[in-house]
Symmetry: D2
Subunit: 137 residues, 4 copies
């Protein structure tokens, strides 16, 4: 299991007239948290695409427990529970506010797809090795 | 069971560099479809808020089957399976493209909350009657 | 001079905690209005890209006079003052609410660029002819 | 003259199918840069709103020179040229990429308005003093 942590400051644009972060914007927060999680492995999602692999989202599940507000500095915990050895990657996210209260929980399932042929694929071997290393350490 | 249908044209802003609609934007598509579903009952979500009731989303679940592309004219089917007699409303959404292919399926759970006290509440009686009428017809 | 008209219903996601449409979202409204203006010429922006031409925005100027609110049905007037005979296209937009009050005025300048070489170009001749025809009629 | 600097990492959601940051998203980048500029004065935009003052945008002007791409770490320079002694505040923004190339230039004009009466107002005196202090230092 790998767990990483990212911080995001809520933008005014992300609030709605209910004075809270619009629920759909958590997809972006999870995306940022996922990108930072991958960066901690020692490579970037951008580099995955440069290898000719794209990772479309196939499932998004979110539970909203408490609202986030403008200018809140959110902490997002991202967990990879299993090593992505086939074409599937699953990320779990938890969003906390500055008082440590749990606001939101999410699960995002992605496929690994060859950009040109749209076939299912796996992570480039070198990247998989870097993730494995993190799992051991 | 009530089923309504709405059409949405994909905006350029809603695409990402994978040449498809960014997954997080479906939350907005569902929101539009939900608002149009409520409008068909004979009132609007705006009027619900004018009654002092807000409807925060507590759960969002989406399965992505096929991508939507720029300028696609999407059809969104919205289903209300049960009469919202307590503080919970559940909407089911299906997004189709112009060839009738199913792209995305979603479920959105909302709470009915008094805007001032944050207490759980129900829909104003008059509105509930309008929904009941639609269920019967 | 060509003038076209488009309607857009304000989404909840587009509001912010000031209870108005977030100013940055007008760029999307103008984009929709521009796409509908081009559709009235007899082709689509999507088809322009299929010709290998992209139209990046090089200038965006907006004046905000009155706010738009959730669920407002906005009317956007789009004006093309001159025939786009070189690599530049300029669109003028005015946003009105349901009472006919002017909310926002915008000007958007786009370049016509070859997608592969990034060289400046013009609209495909056939499309330019269709715009010319609209100017005459 | 006061100049501050903020960094923003481009999100996937902010790109479009032209493989660049969608032009409308710069309004959000400027908003973040403005909020960080105000934070450096020793208070926050959130606190301005807590004083009963809101700052709607009345003018937005952007020139797009070069595109920003996914995962770019952008640097945004924000300049306040004059002390905001009446109901108007003007911010100038420049966006640079990691190679120091200028991508975008923007000017944002905001009004200071009393949230309840919608009357024009000025910054609370205490906040204005903090800005003055920065101008002198």
């Amino acid at each position: 299991m790998i767990e990483t942590t990212t911080q995001i400051r809520v933008r005014y644009a992300e609030t709605d007239q209910m004075n809270v972060v619009y629920h759909g914007n958590y997809a972006q927060y999870f995306e940022v948290a996922r990108a930072e999680c991958i960066r901690e492995f020692g490579f970037t999602y951008k580099q995955i695409e440069e290898f000719g692999v794209v990772m479309p989202i196939v499932e998004l599940n979110i539970k909203f427990i408490r609202p986030a507000h403008y200018d809140d500095l959110l902490t997002i915990k991202t967990t990879l529970k299993t090593l992505p050895e086939n074409h599937i990657m699953e990320f779990y996210h938890e969003v906390y506010n500055e008082e440590g209260k749990l606001l939101t929980m999410g699960k995002v399932v992605l496929y690994l797809i060859k950009a040109n042929t749209k076939e299912k694929t796996t992570l480039p071997k070198e990247m998989l090795e870097k993730i494995k290393y993190k799992f051991i350490v």
